[in-house]
Amino acid sequence: MTIFTHLYKEDRAGGVLLGLLLAAGLLVPVLNLGLGEAHPLHLSTYTVTLLGKYLCYALLAMAVDMAWGYLGILTLGHGAFFALGGYAMGMYLMRQIGSRGVYGHPLLPDFMVFLNWKELPWFWHGFDGFIFALLMVMAVPGLLAFLFGWFAFRSRVTGVYLSIMTQALTYALMLAFFRNDLGFGGNNGLTDFKEILGFSLQADGTRAGLFAASAAALALGYLACRFITRSRLGKLCTAIRDQEDRARFIGYRVEAAKLWVFVFSAVLAGIAGALYVPQVGIINPTEFAPLASIEAVVWVAVGGRATLYGAVLGALIINYAKSYLTAAFPDAWLFGLGALFVLVTLFLPQGVAGLLQMVPFRKKGGTP
């Protein structure tokens, strides 16, 4: 508990966030599993899954915040890392189906049987093991981010150039994943999952467990991000964001710092995707769509950049609004989202977190 008291002094918003996550991680499964359906406080499994999904988005938003808020890289392609993590998890879940698929093939997923493939492609091997899949969830997005960053940062591509590059990256991946012969199920993606680690994905208990795992991942992700941003490396990141040349001329290999923080951010996004897929039950190439990535940027913009908790807040607010609006006024959602982009950048550059910081009581805990 010392961490909470410490956080409460040092970082009140973060402390509140972690406290809420702990409470939700414990309470939500209890309210879902422990109370009967008739009970007024009962949470339906649908709600639990929805909340779990939001938490995954929040983790993605935090990853975007690391890149955009702290490194100044407006990434329009973080959805790619999210989706790659999701695909890695999806491949594990596909392999878990075993012979229970429609075609009942003992080894090949349904879509491969449908495409008349005779054997498992080499890159599908190993994904029957959970640990291996978990490694890939982090390694694949990390590696892609490393390659991309290595090229981009070394040649000092910055600003809008870099942003468009990231968008081109996710766009190219989307095109590639839509192809059947790439071996990831084409435009249908991976779906019809049955179980994870032997637990049925349809069971309430599994759903509640996945929710708790998402809450834990978000909490740990927050602590990791916070550790980085509070370190000298974190100070260096914002220094690079504000004055890249100065940082270089006081002896920092700017591209290395950017690269590793970017890779960390991509890994975080990958983990978010991996938690997301078993909860929604499908992963397909639309997760690579540029719009998906740029939506994540808007969560951060709305919540407030370079605050971490703002990203979480933004992701939760916008996704709740999205769930509500797409159901109530399906046509209005994109209008609303579009207007949000414009209004937040014009009138609320610091986001909701900026508003919260204006509330007077926050001043008391200011720096000495």
Partner: protein, 284 residues
């Protein structure tokens, strides 16, 4: 050498492989008393020769002023020394051993060349202390930076630099909230944190009040000696107040070099500055 010997040489337990040894530039070698050699440097941008066969030597511990009209190549010269621009021809050596043309900007910075930009460039969202902490000499790779914590000696170092540049009272202020002059000093302070052997200072008093100017002049004079300082400046009065040796650049070449008085009376310099008329800026 037989294969077996080669194999034995490959596996001594006390040895670290070459490619694992961190690449550090050789130590600064000042046996000849010269800290910076620039020879035959030429740079052109799309046909325009910004620097044309330039030769410049800076001695150890010297305070040198470089003056010259706009477009004379002063900023480009700084860019070359710090690795921002690669010359088309020529050589640049730091001491006897270090070839600047083969190094990146951060490597040059870590080797001991600090540069102050024309516009004050500090990390405005960080406190003064954080600015200095970031600039501090020491391991600057990613992992050490992540785990670094300030120890007592380092805190002392920061405080002593703050004292040098006169910003003790501002230690916890956000750098963005400092005045223009204070930012310039902070930037100089950041350079000092790197323990540089050579300081390149680009227009340090631009936009400063008279008082600030004087303080800056004192500061720069006090810095020379243990390290070399090269100042690029337009303000002749300021140059006169600090300079022992002045280099005049014109159209990418060294036009004249010598004491302020020598340079001031050099007819070529007078012509460049005033098209033949006696020079009030230079004379006053």
């Amino acid at each position: 050498m037989t294969t077996l010997e080669r194999f034995r040489n490959f596996w001594p337990r006390d040895r670290v492989f070459d490619f694992l040894v961190p690449q550090t530039p050789p130590d600064l070698d000042l046996t000849h008393g010269v800290i910076l050699y620039l020879e035959g440097i030429t740079v052109s941008f799309g046909g325009f020769k910004a620097i044309d066969d330039l030769n410049l030597y800076i001695e150890d511990g010297e305070l040198r002023c470089i003056i010259g009209p706009n477009g004379a190549g002063k900023s480009t010269l700084m860019d070359i020394i710090t690795g921002k621009t690669r010359p088309d021809a020529g050589s640049a050596w730091f001491g006897q051993q270090i070839n600047l043309l083969k190094m990146t900007e951060p490597e040059i910075a870590r080797a001991g060349i600090g540069r102050k930009f024309q516009k004050p460039t500090v990390f405005e969202n960080h406190t003064v202390q954080d600015n200095l902490e970031l600039a501090m000499a020491g391991p600057k790779a990613v992992w050490p930076t992540l785990t670094a914590r300030l120890n007592a000696a380092q805190r002392e170092r920061i405080e002593s630099v703050l004292e040098t540049v006169g910003l003790q009272a501002q230690i916890h202020r956000r750098a963005g909230a400092l005045s223009h002059g204070q930012k310039q000093w902070l930037e100089i302070g950041m350079l000092l944190m790197q323990n540089p052997k050579l300081l390149l200072v680009d227009e340090p008093v631009a936009g400063m009040t008279q008082q600030e100017s004087e303080r800056t002049a004192e500061l720069l004079v006090s810095l020379a000696g243990p390290r070399s300082v090269v100042v690029v400046e337009h303000d002749m009065e300021f140059v006169r107040s600090i300079a022992r040796k002045v280099t005049v650049l014109h159209q990418g070449r060294v036009l004249a070099e010598g004491s302020m008085d020598d340079v001031q009376h050099d007819p070529r310099v007078v012509e460049v500055y005033l098209g033949g008329e006696p020079c009030s800026t230079l004379k006053n």
